[in-house]
Amino acid sequence: MKITALVAALLALVVAACGGASDEVGGGSESNAAAASGGGSSKLSLVAYAVPKVGFDKVIPAFNATPEGKGVTFSQSYGASGDQSRKVESGLETDVVNFSVEPDITRLVESGQVEETWNQNEYKGVPFGSVVTIVTRKGNPENIKTWDDLLKPGIEVVTPNPFSSGSAKWNLLAPYAEKSGGGQNPEAGLAYLEKLIGEHVKVQPKSGREATETFLQGTGDVLLSYENEALFAERNGEDVEHTNPPVTFRIDNPVAVLKDSKNKEKAQAFVDFLYTKEGQTAWAEAGFRPVDPDVAQQFASDFPPPEKLWTIDDLGGWGKVNDELFEPETGSVAKIYDEATG
């Protein structure tokens, strides 16, 4: 008897929920997860790293406004880049992936899920990026502007766990590149990281977004993050501000289509769209640095160039960097991390 009441109650809830569905779709940021309203049109699944949602929330409607993108709906998942990549490798079905760092796509190339040619375009498979930035409490009370400032006594730095987060890798590469002179003097770079990780990093959030959340909840003096993430927090009215250090690192966030995507054409069309003027503009508006030179020019005032911007190629590319620095148990940064936080 009673169980029928429960079922009835649950049903009532669903019916109530469905009743309101058509009125308002825009309220929630996951508005495009419209599995429910799919109908005959195509649906793409996107598995991405933790923070680009604010970008896709602009890009997807722009894509839907194009002839190819008309009626395409998206289901999206965001999380720690490494963790998301591992999930796709172990069977999470998807059409498009967007990770923070290239090795997370390389993992899927090695498992045969992504074509080896995925990065053979003008922009090497990277439709947008950012730079590593320093986020502080409003007014920058500790006056932190450079990588050296992070090592001031008593400063607590929030940066995610590099074994799951791509953001964490970028955050560590930025001072490493400066201190090692672009990898010329690895010892100096590692000595800096040893000090930073050993004495100033206490928390290990799993993703860039969880790091932001940890910082906003009041932990730490400094948050290392993507510039776009800092803009996102500021635009949300949080009491934080960011300073791009004079020497920092260019972040490239790659996108690829899965080989066994059930909707490969649409998926490819979507990825192609990311590189168009409209797509690039949408990214720029959301706080990500566009790769198209013209659009970049147009938003130049929003994204001031730092004095010196290192890139992953300066350090010899991701293959080398990942093997030497981040490979679990053997990479030098991995060892420092295990030593400090094991």
């Binding site: 008897m1 009673k2 169980i3 009441a5 429960l6 109650a9 649950l10 809830l13 669903v14 929920a17 469905c18 009743g19 309101g20 569905a21 009125d23 308002e24 779709v25 309220g27 929630g28 940021s29 996951e30 508005s31 495009n32 997860a33 419209a34 599995a35 429910a36 309203s37 699944s45 598995v47 933790a50 949602k53 289901s75 999206q76 998942s77 965001y78 999380g79 999930k87 490798e89 172990s90 069977g91 999470l92 079905e93 998807t94 977004r209 969880e210 932001t212 959340e213 996102f232 949300n236």
Partner: protein, 259 residues
Amino acid sequence: MSTRIALRTAALGYLGVLVLVPLAMILYRTFEDGLVAFFQSVTTPAAISAISLSLTIVAIVVPLNVVFGLVTALALARGNFPGKGILQAVVDLPFAVSPVIVGVALILFWGNDGWLGGALPVIFSLPGMVLATVFVTLPFVVREVEPVLREIGTEQEEAASTLGASRWQTFWRITLPAIKVGVFYGVVLTVARSLGEFGALTVVAGGVAGESQTLTLLVHARYIDDHNTFGAYAASTVLMGLALVTLVLMALLERRREA
């Protein structure tokens, strides 16, 4: 007298600080912008999809637990076989296992590098979520039904069977009506636990909004990934409403069981 008042104040104070005030707080946060905002927040496509996925899981898990739970309870209450003690212990095992460990176990057993070598697409899809939920809810029906079975004994059943009733008839006409309340109680607990499962699902669910995101995962994703605190409160309130329904049902069944 005054001791009594002091004790009462202490007890109610503890409950207030720990349970009531936080709950009131979240209700306030949910509804401070009015009913409409709440309603919109819990009717986005992703929210609807999460609600229906949670209910789908419940709809699969409950029958599985009822059928296999009844079989197990009957075996435990009526059977006399070697290894019964072990079977008893295994039934209680899920109570003592952390949900996260449940997730780890499923990955190591069903996953790509697991015992079954990923032969079946379980992890990061619906079957994995169902398996995780069945694991954590497995004891409920058994533990609610088994004592009732012991209490009612076998005399009526044996009488029925001497009078020529088939085993099946005996079960439907004699056994089931007697244990009905126990089964319902087990089902209510199963439903509540299924809707609330989180730890195991974070490990084995894909968490794709609109596809493999349950209500609890939606709460977490909204809070962290979407930075949408209000949305998380709103979804929490839905879950809280379902929990209240459960409580009411539990209270009603308790009354009936005592009667």
